[in-house]
Symmetry: C2
Subunit: 287 residues, 2 copies
């Protein structure tokens, strides 16, 4: 690494933001980390764990003099956060984020950047079911993909720095157009969450002569539906912000399910075996 | 245990049948186990592992002199197996099974029993992703539910013996009407498998400008879709045999998904958070 971020500001010091700071500190590429947030308990814990060096309860105050600002707050709050800090950014400052949806965020945030400051959209595909600064750890991103979503407006030097920072965390960095990112994530992440929520909802409200069907579930059901235990507010925001791509993914899934339903209804033994075999091959291919 | 099964015949010595034999032998309630099947390699492995004492490649020959026959072959083959062995059963013999679907099997098999022999339907809710005799182990059923599905035709003494045998394996035994079993299993097991297969099929065939979307999947997707790696032929048979209940479960799920889709489409923030919260509560309730 031929450069050092003297001052990194992290807005939202949870699993994602905290792990980003830890990983960069471990890699020796940041000097001082200021943690910005609203929860005193969480920020004080981050401070005592050595994840951050300073605390700020004001985003605008916290980003002053930072060369890089990493925003890891819920997706719907990212543009508002950028609006709040824009006038306080130092000349040359790079702002990047870790949100799971990109097209809308990138478009809004690029428009909010003051002249001489640069926005680069990003999304590390990593996480655990835990949250908060206490859940952060420096190896979260090691070997995981991080997708950057530059546009025609993106400053090449800023993109290069963000890319090298993610590489310093151990992530495998790739770039794609924001809308393409959103369509891929709709398929591999947002759709499965929606399907898991709908499945648990359906089974939980199923009428089996007044009996609680869920009491018979075993390990398979629990594994399959683990993601339906995720934070409802976070997923509401993601579903709304990636609405268009997600609706299209839901429709694709519904069409697959309708095909399967029809083959069951038609007693189409051969067609069913074929469908299950193709799906199994796709699944085994990602092992 | 105040009784001993002198001779137990197991048709299909795989994970389910092999573990049943192991568990009963460990509990000291069976003397001799004859393993029946078509795969010489599997039966010889079962013999060398001490799961069975004798091998028979003919079901009719193998069940002679047995007091209990346990049938653990794919669900569509269970009635045919019972038909094959019926005339060879000793007077007083009890035949029971481990199939994942019950109404059709119980009705057919009851009708095939010769006078003085008894059929009891059963289904242990246990398993692993492995199969074959080598995958069998004596504690598979410990603490797991086993559902027995007696009807008005079921012999009470035979039901009592089958129930006590399952208790000897460590299972928690309960009884219910075969159709009720099938509706519950459609919800908690057959529907999730169908949904997982449909999801992987949809994502695997999704068009993302020619890119393989599956290459971006991370741990969450892999966990969620693990059950889509199950045996396609086994699941084809289950889907066909429990067709009626499964179609109804698919329709209930589709209705839940349609509600969710509409709330996303309508930008119904409150309705979405409510839906996700209810689902999360159901999910957290089964932890």
């Amino acid at each position: 690494m031929s450069f050092i971020i003297e001052r990194l500001a992290v807005v939202g010091v949870g699993l994602i933001g905290g792990s980003f700071a830890c990983a960069l500190r471990d890699a020796g590429v940041v000097k001082t980390v200021v943690g910005i947030g609203r929860s005193r308990a969480n920020l004080e814990q981050a401070l005592s764990l050595g994840i951050i060096d300073e605390i700020s309860y004001s985003a605008a105050d916290g980003v002053r003099d930072a060369q890089l600002v990493f925003i890891s707050v819920p997706v719907c709050s990212i543009p508002a956060t950028v609006q709040e800090i824009a006038s306080a950014l130092s000349p040359g400052c790079i702002v990047t984020d870790g949100g799971s949806v990109k097209a809308e965020i990138v478009q809004e945030c690029e428009g909010l950047m003051p002249p001489g400051c640069f926005f680069v959209g990003g999304h590390p595909i990593a996480g655990t079911e835990h949250s908060g600064a206490a859940a952060a750890f420096s190896t979260l991103y090691r070997g995981k993909r991080c997708i950057l979503t530059p546009t025609n407006n993106t400053d090449p030097a800023a993109l290069d720095i963000v890319s090298r920072l993610w590489e310093a965390t151990g992530a495998i960095v790739c770039s794609m157009e924001p809308g393409h990112h959103d369509r891929i994530l709709a398929e591999i992440s947002h759709l499965p969450h929606v399907v898991a929520y709908a499945l648990v909802h359906a089974v939980g409200t199923a009428d089996a002569e007044g009996e609680n069907v869920l009491s018979y579930t075993a390990g398979g059901f629990r594994d399959f539906t683990r993601i339906a235990s995720s934070d409802p507010v976070m997923w509401r925001d993601i579903a709304l912000m990636n609405r268009k791509a997600l609706l299209s993914s839901i429709d694709g899934f519904s069409a697959s399910l309708a095909t399967l339903r029809q083959r069951i209804d038609n007693h189409d033994s051969e067609g069913l075996a074929e469908f299950f075999t193709i799906a199994k091959q796709f699944r085994d291919g990602i092992l």
